[in-house]
Symmetry: C2
Amino acid sequence: MADQSPVEESPSRGRRADAQRNRQTVLAAAAEVFVTSGVDAPIRQIAARAGVGMATIYRHFPTRADLVTAVYRHQIEECAEAGPNLLASADSPFDALRQWIDLFVDFLVTKHGLADALQSESDRFAALHSYFLDRLLPVCAQLLDAAVESGDIRPGTQPYELMRGIGNLCIGRDSDPRYDPRRLIALIFQGLQRPHAP
Amino acid sequence: MADQSPVEESPSRGRRADAQRNRQTVLAAAAEVFVTSGVDAPIRQIAARAGVGMATIYRHFPTRADLVTAVYRHQIEECAEAGPNLLASADSPFDALRQWIDLFVDFLVTKHGLADALQSESDRFAALHSYFLDRLLPVCAQLLDAAVESGDIRPGTQPYELMRGIGNLCIGRDSDPRYDPRRLIALIFQGLQRPHAP
DNA sequence: TACTAAATGGAGCGGCGCTCCGGTTCAGGT
DNA sequence: ACCTGAACCGGAGCGCCGCTCCATTTAGTA
């Protein structure tokens, strides 16, 4: 009970009941299709899966980025909220940062093509890019600052550069055993540490 | 004089003269278009620029990867040949490796969209990927081995992982001053060094 | 010059993103 | 219970693209 919180997702407030239902149907279909065909799957395919017309999808999610954002909103939110929690629970700010980045990487490699989309050459995913940055950059910055404060990390690292670098390293099919982005990220981490720990 | 070396590029040997001319025309047009529109530019656009039909392009370069490969072949070759040279001229194998990677990065960031193509989600560029790997992976491995041998770099790093990581870090528009792949690559480098240099 | 195989180019097909519009359904007032 | 207009829906349609097929042209040779 009380599944419907008092504050509903903004895009579905005030809409007609059938519209809200369709919105959820589309979201579910898109989530399924994204798993099998990636975030670049044809809109027609998602529409067919959901049993609706294409216009319905475009009405609810004007751009593809809006759709992707909506599908992964919960997980992005989880990742964002995990930041402060880790900072409180981990042994050190350094550990908190490492664990958070583990979370971030897990998220990216799990959702096929998500990292690709984030750095897509065209501007199709500009909105997605913005949403990621708006939500996660402050978290990353906070963790980074804390680790600098505690002396584990040397100052001067830009959160944007770190996040985009990690995102880039996660691009591509993960089937090749010769490539594990985590190993390179660990290397970057090592480089981030102060040369002479206290 | 003697511009035409005895051993010509294999794909143009034995062809009719007009075919060879067209091949060069297409190559030049593609190079121009790639600069402005990236390696994903429509084939029609390249054909129009070259003043030929689309079939002509497809005949000479069956896949888009073949065309891209041909356009950048010289520069890839230069990069590959620079490896041994640097190993001979640089102060140390470590320096040679660093300089070579600088070269590699320059190449990737200069050619808009090339790094993107190398890790493209679809398999359109499989041939390009293979060519890069076949030509450059041994060079990278040689430099890496030399640096390990000399004690500057700790062993265990896979050349493939390093090259793909660097390639990934170079993905995306380079207009953003907040992101410079070189800084992160330098960080990886730092992590690659032996913890305690002799 | 006449002949033949190589080379050409653009029409054509299927697929995709995105929009537009006629028909349908809901929700609130009587 | 019904009426009505506003919200909503679906898919036909347009433009763009990758790729192929084949009638036509052209280079090289006898």
